[in-house]
């Protein structure tokens, strides 16, 4: 057996649907090779074995939404050389961040008979609001091949090759016809980061923002077209309010549209 020490990997979960860490198990063709390249120190969804930290690479899924989460993420950071957040919950707060613009007490009462049993924060926030993050991988869920690229880069000490341009560029590169121009279908592609493989426009559907705001996005300009195409102010505001509702560019634009709606 090789004696060279393999990098120790940990996978952590906060508030989330488990879909992003499942992306790792969904790498059916590459899983065993990846598992062979690292020492899995902590990965609850896959193994009951546990190796104590420190860890060379930590992948963090999920958002911070309880008082306990805040303490836990600080502990994870202390134990991790490289901390990479994966998915919309970890990078923006996730769909559960819709509570940030609503009354959390009201939310608890709506779902639970005994609100006193529930310990939760008023907000759901991205990991980077609490600790230093070395790389953020977007997506709801993340793209498994982008995840493989980020892991590969971290294992080899290089910068991951993850584009930050918009979905529009991805559509043009792959020759997908623009659904907004050709079919007047509302699309968040112009303001959303590429990476999913332009799957929605390929299905005759407008992008709905799984990968969060692209670099230098200009959502106000897009909203103008959405309204012109017949969306109501409420519909346009809601369009930005999904899995990345708490990402700055989307949050600010949805709030502006809501205010215009009165």
């Amino acid at each position: 057996m090789a004696t060279a020490k393999k990098p120790r990997l940990a996978v952590w979960k906060f508030s989330s649907c488990d879909g992003c860490q499942l992306s790792l198990l969904d790498l059916e063709d590459e899983l065993l090779t990846v598992a062979d390249a690292v020492e899995i120190g902590f990965f609850l969804e896959a193994t009951r074995a546990e190796v104590k930290g420190p860890y060379d690479i930590s992948l963090v899924e999920g958002s911070v939404s309880t008082p306990h989460d805040i303490k836990r993420i600080q502990k994870v950071r202390r134990q991790s050389k490289v901390l990479i957040t994966i998915g919309a919950c970890a990078t923006s707060g996730g769909i559960q961040a819709l509570r940030n613009i609503n009354d959390t007490d009201d939310f608890i009462k709506c779902v639970y008979a005994h609100p006193e049993y529930i310990s939760t924060l008023e907000t759901s926030t991205p990991i980077c609001e609490h600790v230093k993050v070395d790389f953020e991988l977007r997506g709801c869920p993340v793209d498994k091949y982008q995840l493989l690229e980020v892991l590969n880069a971290a294992l080899n000490g290089r910068k991951p090759n993850i584009p930050t341009h918009s979905q529009c560029i991805e559509c043009k590169l792959s020759g997908t016809v623009c659904v907004m121009v050709s079919k007047q279908i509302p699309c968040l592609g112009p303001v959303t980061q590429a990476g999913c493989g332009n799957i929605c426009p390929s299905c005759n559907r407008g992008c709905y923002g799984c990968f969060g705001p692209a670099e230098a996005a200009n959502p106000a300009a897009l909203s103008h077209h959405l309204l012109e195409a017949g969306m109501s102010l409420e519909q346009a505001s809601h369009f930005y309010r999904s899995f990345n509702a708490n990402a700055d560019a989307f949050r600010d634009e949805s709030a502006r549209l809501e205010e215009l709606n009165g």
């Binding site: 906060f14 649907c17 488990d18 499942l22 769909i95």
Partner: protein, 432 residues
Amino acid sequence: MAKTTSRIIKVDELARVEGEGALKLRISQGEIKDLQFRIHEPPRFFEALLRGRIYADAPDITSRICGICPVAYIMGSSQAMEDALGVRVTGPLRDLRRLVYCAEWIESHVLHVFLLHAPDFLGYQDAILISKDHPELVATALRLKKLGNRILEVIGGRAIHPVNLKVGGVHKIPSKAEVQSLAEELKWAIETSEGLVKAVSAFDFPDYSYDYNCVAMRHSDEYAICEGRLVSSKGLDIDIASFEEHFSEEHVSHSNALHGVADTGKPYLVGPIARYNLNFEQLSPLAQATAKDCGLPRMIDNPFMSIAVRMVEVLYTCQEALRLVENYEEPDAACVEITPRAGEGFGCTEAPRGICYHHYKLDDQGRITFAKIMPPTSQNQKQIERDLWGVVERYMDLSDDDLKWRCEQAIRNYDPCISCATHFLKLTVDRD
């Protein structure tokens, strides 16, 4: 004072499940004093955040309840909305839904059987360690799992959180050529699954049984997946709209997941064993014969056999998927016509882990004013606690470490999806 031996067994973070949970167990003088199965997955308030959204947003938002079984949420919410809006999805579109749901069963079941549960029966910490000794077994399982994901991609546009499914149908009609390209791998999968049912049925099942009140959907023409009536082993036979008259949720202090209870106040069982016990005769002749040949009883009361039942269901869904693929004709329209209106609707489907119930109310613009979702794991949670009680009584003499592992194995019988149930596990065994 009597001599006391006190044992506290804790599983703080349950592994090989989806989401976060724990178990706390206190045993005094050979008796269980306290047993709590906790879900500390943080609450995400889906039912609250749906209010005010347009009906069409429900499938995409609710799919994010669970990355393992998003199709269950997409289907349940879509059908509930269709019920509220007075439309029905039939013909080839309905067949496409059943096909994509079969794919989710294949992907989810194979993930659970081989990557999450088999290590307990084979004595390994995880599947990666199994692959060191039995590389061909893990490679075969991964190929089968990949097929489930590939069908999801062809029909749904993406494996996790598919994008091509919507209220009323699909965004884009998958071409006949794309769908039929799945046939060859499905033929391999049927043959392979037959062998895997045999392999899994030969596992050593711990000795424990319970007289379950099984609850599942039943459909007159097929092994129910997407639709049907709700039936139970105690003779219940109801329309899904009456679900809340017969089942409710309890909120207990030790868990962020609501516990499902039947109107008798007792636990009930949903999932593979419930479906198998209630609807066995509707499985394909090959699935029935394979189960019999492997020595699986007609009525299963040992929850540890759930792993074998999952594999029987994988065999069935591979055959069913092949049938749907071979008979597929492209529908004339991608989606039925919908006019927003006020209404109330119900949706219930068989998620891989059991029935998943949705209930919504809409205003006259089609906005959601009320949402209620009962995922399978919250319905099973009370039964899981009951099983744990029995398993601990039966295996009290095991060492703390072995008892802890046995308890974990018992919980994994349910393939608990803790992310879903929050609205789920660490084990603490405390022996005095």
